[in-house]
Amino acid sequence: MTAVIRTQGLTKRYGQTVGIELLDLDVEAGQVFGFLGPNGAGKTTTMRLLLDVIRPTEGRAEVLGLDVAARSLDIRRRVGYLPGDLRLEGRVTAHEMLTFLGRLRGGVPQATISALAERLDLDLSRPIRALSKGNKQKAGLIQAFMHSPELLILDEPTGGLDPLVQQEFLRMVAEVARDGRTVFLSSHVLDEVERAAHRVAIIRDGRLVAVEDVVALRERAVRRIEIHFSEPVEAAPFAAIDGVVDVRVDDRVLECSVEGSVDALIKAAAVRTVVAIKTHEPDLEKVFLTYYAQERSDAAV
């Protein structure tokens, strides 16, 4: 497999503050690669470096086998990019803006633009500046997808999109991957990356914490679960289950954290009468802490 994105020691500092530090990243062709981290972790900085919008302090990056510092124009021809902080202005209609951006790439068929607009449910005849945040985001997605690029770099692509459009977006991403093309997308929400990506890189404070398959990540994700029973319960039998920690019982309500599979917990609970189960989104901080704990124990060995 060839690397579509490869960074070596990529570093960007802004004076004293670190954007990213010594980032080594490999994204292989045909993957949907998620870039996960809290806001300010360095995701946008990395993507801007790949597009040559900003220049690295140290290190280098290759995109599609080409050096970013030397061949950016050739790279940009073959990449679609959605900026994280997409702001579109102007009196021109969405259709005119997309036509203009298409012509900068040597022209994109009108039918392609219309088809994408229909899929995402965007009215192309409206002036760009009159569009809502979600509709601007759709226009941004269309310009990134419309020339069928070999690589899509999408910074927080689902921001502002309603759930139905998010579903359509996920289908579009899956189609790109089926074509053997590559998607590199960032998010600060674990669930979003889980749904879209095959592989995930986790970044925090400008440093790469881990790169994992989504399946493995899901197994290690810590979920907060709340079970309501019909009668009061004891904490002890649940605390004994492997992977269940942080158990708290308040009369008929059990609260605990589960790492990986919830199967054993559910089977233990099913012995009694369960009124309701609530699960909370995996907390990104907890995922990081798991990895940090892992790193430390690895270092100790």
Binding site: Y14, R48, L51, D52, V53, I54, R55, L73, D74, R76, R77, V79, Y81, P83, D85, L86, R87, L88, E89, G90, R91, V92, E96, T99, F100, L101, R103, L104, R105, G140, Q143
Partner: protein, 266 residues
């Protein structure tokens, strides 16, 4: 057609503003020149008025004699108001061309396309130059028509000369703002840089000659090369025109050099 290049798209985005500025500049010029016949009725009063003015006031507003048409045009229109209009347009458009777009966030999207930074700056500059040239042409047409209709006795050559000088001056300050914006990415810096050069330059050109031993000061000012050679009387001074164009090119090259090397949009 206008959607096929950065140049065309820029002009398209600016078209409403250009129409407004065209109407403003043209309207002002028609009105100001149209007042000349009424003005000239009182030539004697005007002459005594000018005689009583302090030298500093006369120098600041380019007043020599208000009793001839050329003197009136120089003092009332071309020494202050019309250059000021062109400067305000040029600086506003120049500051918006790169820095304004960068601050609004739209430059990042453009940079993600296969367009290199040099081309973006040069095509935006070309849009600025086209706009200024259109205003220059407008000034030429109105002034040439007035010249023959009102019998001002200026002549086509000097009319063309002042129009070209005016355009070069407006383009220089517009380019200063564009270049400062391209170098820094801040619209406020772009405007401040161009306005500072304009204010200091205007002061040096107006008051330098009045201070003994400092008359060389005005030769450092772009305004000196705009009208010191009296284009409305003597036609275009080629050396002065070339100097304005070279200053413009130097500012553009400096802005471009920095823009190609820096981070965009933070």
């Amino acid at each position: 057609m206008l959607l096929s290049s950065v140049y065309g798209k820029t002009l398209r985005d600016w078209r409403r503003g250009l129409l407004g500025w065209g109407l403003g500049i043209g309207g002002y010029l028609v009105m100001a020149v149209g007042l000349w016949p009424a003005y000239s009725q009182d030539a004697e009063v005007l002459e005594s008025l000018v005689a009583g003015m302090p030298e500093a006031v006369k120098a600041a507003f380019g007043i020599t004699d208000l009793s001839t048409a050329v003197g009136y045009l120089e003092a009332q229109i071309f020494s202050f108001t019309l250059p000021l209009l062109l400067l305000v347009f040029g600086i506003a458009a120049g500051a918006r061309a790169i820095a304004g777009d960068e601050e609004s966030g739209s430059l990042e999207l453009l940079l993600a396309h296969p367009v290199n930074r040099r081309r973006i700056v040069l095509e935006r500059f070309a849009a600025l130059a086209t706009s200024v040239a259109v205003f220059s042409l407008l000034v030429f047409l109105i002034l040439a028509a007035s010249d023959s209709l009102l019998g001002l006795g200026v002549g086509v050559g000097p009319v063309a000369a002042i129009s070209v000088s005016l355009g070069l001056l407006g383009l220089l300050f517009g380019t200063l703002a564009l270049a400062a914006g391209a170098a820094t990415g801040a619209r406020s810096v772009a405007i401040a840089a161009a306005v500072t050069v304009a204010a200091v330059g205007w002061a040096a050109d107006s008051f330098g000659p009045l201070i003994e031993g400092l008359d060389w000061l005005q030769r450092l000012s772009p305004f000196y090369y705009y009208d010191a050679a009296r284009p409305l009387r003597d036609g275009l001074n080629a050396a002065h025109a070339v100097l304005l164009a070279l200053l413009t090119a130097a500012a553009l090259a400096a802005g471009l050099w920095r823009f190609e090397r820096r981070d965009v949009g933070l």
